[in-house]
């Protein structure tokens, strides 16, 4: 029983969260931040498969997120909403809540297939060269979508709010929060099971010595395909959820900047540490939101004491000075991240009593 303490506590807190949202005891803003936390957890833990466990350096994670976001958005609007381009809904909108998981998974599946753009070159290419390929893949996806006018091109794509609203018509519960909780738990569950199996540990062997891995009977090419597809697929899942929280997607939201955010989270938490990824995603989301308030505060403070000229304003763009700076100091002072490649119970063995998470 004690072994399940953690699982039960996790389950209860998720339930509690849904309850709080249901009875409007949570501010809409706080709720949105919590949803972004879930999405960021999926993003950082899925990128950790490649950059942490497999020891590669992928910098285009947002590209796969973009594929998942667009595929699931287009599907959900085409199937469950009335739309100028796609016409009348194919299925009655009150079924949207049933179809939604399938739509998100379809987006994830297409994103996983897109992962092959990186997986196949990774057979022969490593390190810096593969990193360049991942950046190229990120750009390829974004540019391809910008050139597809039917789904809005650079202007973006919307209409997902209508699908979410038809879920609210069926039942008035915090749907998006529920989907995100399910998506986050599902992702962590898959990754956890992958990296603790002898099968998945093949990618850890690849990261530590690829030649030895191949000679010791590991089909390294197959493992790379599995890892890249799993990672890209989960990024796509995060993208689908992200698109439906916003109700609007735009190719530029999935630029290299977004990929950088994913990398900051992985390196902050620790390469090859799932608990690290989860924790750093939470810290990172809070930090980003905090900056939203801190930057204007600093701006008005500096103006009031007259350090800054009136013509200059510290804008939110400074976020992009601060985030890379975190990476900078992290690499200088704690390159292994918060957890290194350890897990929470490795650092606090007493926790082990409370969970068996296989």
């Amino acid at each position: 029983m004690q072994k399940h303490t953690f699982t039960i506590a996790l389950f209860l807190s998720c339930l509690g969260l849904v309850g709080l949202a249901q009875y409007n005891w949570l501010d809409q803003y706080i709720l949105t931040v919590i949803m972004f936390m879930g999405i960021n957890i999926i993003l950082s833990s899925s990128l950790n498969i490649i950059n942490g466990y497999m020891g590669e350096f992928a910098c285009g994670h947002a590209g796969f997120m973009c594929v998942g976001a667009y595929v699931s958005s287009v599907l959900s609007v085409a199937i469950f909403a009335k739309d100028k381009v796609f016409g009348a809904p194919m299925l009655p909108p009150d079924l949207a809540w049933i179809g939604f998981p399938a739509i998100i998974l379809a987006g994830a599946l297409v994103a996983a297939l897109t992962g092959l753009i990186v997986a196949l070159p990774s057979f022969k290419t490593r390190g810096d060269y593969l990193a360049i390929i991942t950046i190229a893949a990120n750009y390829m996806v974004i540019s391809a979508i910008e050139n597809m006018d039917i789904i809005g091109g650079p202007r973006g794509f919307q209409g997902m709010k209508r699908v979410i609203n038809s879920m609210y018509d069926v039942a008035d519960i915090p749907w998006m929060l529920i989907w995100i909780i399910i998506g986050t738990l599902f992702s962590i569950f898959l990754i956890r099971r992958f990296v603790t199996s002898t099968y998945g540990k093949g990618i850890i062997a690849i990261s530590q010595d690829e030649v030895a891995a191949e000679i010791m009977s590991i089909n390294t090419n197959k493992m790379k395909i599995s890892a890249f597809m799993l990672s890209a697929g989960l990024a796509g899942l995060a993208g689908g959820l992200f698109a439906h929280v916003y109700g609007y997607v735009n190719p530029q939201s999935f630029s290299i900047m977004k990929s950088t955010e994913c990398m900051v989270m992985v390196y902050l938490g620790g390469m090859g540490s799932l608990s690290g990824s989860v924790l750093s995603a939470i810290i990172f989301t809070v930090l980003i939101e905090a900056l939203r308030f801190i930057i204007p505060e600093v701006d008005s403070l500096m103006h009031s004491i007259g350090i800054l000229p009136d013509s200059y304003e510290i804008s939110q763009v400074w976020k992009w000075v601060i985030i890379p700076m975190i990476l900078f100091f992290l690499m200088q002072f704690r390159p292994e991240g918060i957890f290194g490649n350890r897990e929470l119970p490795d650092s606090f063995p007493k926790l082990r009593k409370f969970y068996s998470f296989k």
Partner: protein, 255 residues
Amino acid sequence: MPLLEIKNMTQRFGGLQAVSDFNISIEEGQLLALIGPNGAGKTTVFNLTSGFYQPTEGTIFFDGKPTAGLKPHQVTAMGIARTFQNIRLWHDMTVLDNIRISQHYRMGYNIFDAFLRTKRYREQERSIDNTAWEMLEAMSLKEYAYERPKNLPYGLQRRVEIARAMSIRPKLLLLDEPAAGLNSADVEGLIKLIRWIHTEFDITIWMIEHQMKVVMSLCEHIKVIDFGSTIADGTPEEIQANPVVIKAYLGDDTI
């Protein structure tokens, strides 16, 4: 039918002919050695045998089947395991995991079994685990199961690497300079270990070794190469008395 048969194998790296017209036929149960001065091409022969390189010319047959075109992991799955001249363990995972993961080829389940933790997954993981613990027990490594190889003394790392290769349950074990870097007490232990593995597991062992003491006390047959070409073949006594070999090693006091 010989277990391993290599015919007219040649390997070129650009202008360099690292191995020239190499021939060998190894019978099941043999314990033999490949020796030669530094840079003679010994490791290259092993790299070719384990499928890491495809030979420029010539053929390799293992168990009667050609290995041409196979990837190293497929060659290993046929029953050829090896160790490396510079130990290549996965240094940042436990000894136990090192030995578990090298059983990848007979894992017998796929990624979805891993996600769903199916019956097949549980059975296979249990069998992988059992094999790993048996191997640790047999190689007297049990107490180091949860250590990371990088924290172990060199002699033990060698032993772990041999255990890892053995967990593949090979028919042929290739050892690339297993005694390199060991002190004399460890070398004694290694000689005993190799002899024990050879009889206990009833396998064929082909080793590269510089230390004549090891080769002389273990091997029934020795092949000598220099600049990629075979210069001698015979029993330890014949090799030690062979003037061509002595000339090749002249100035090299390891013989």
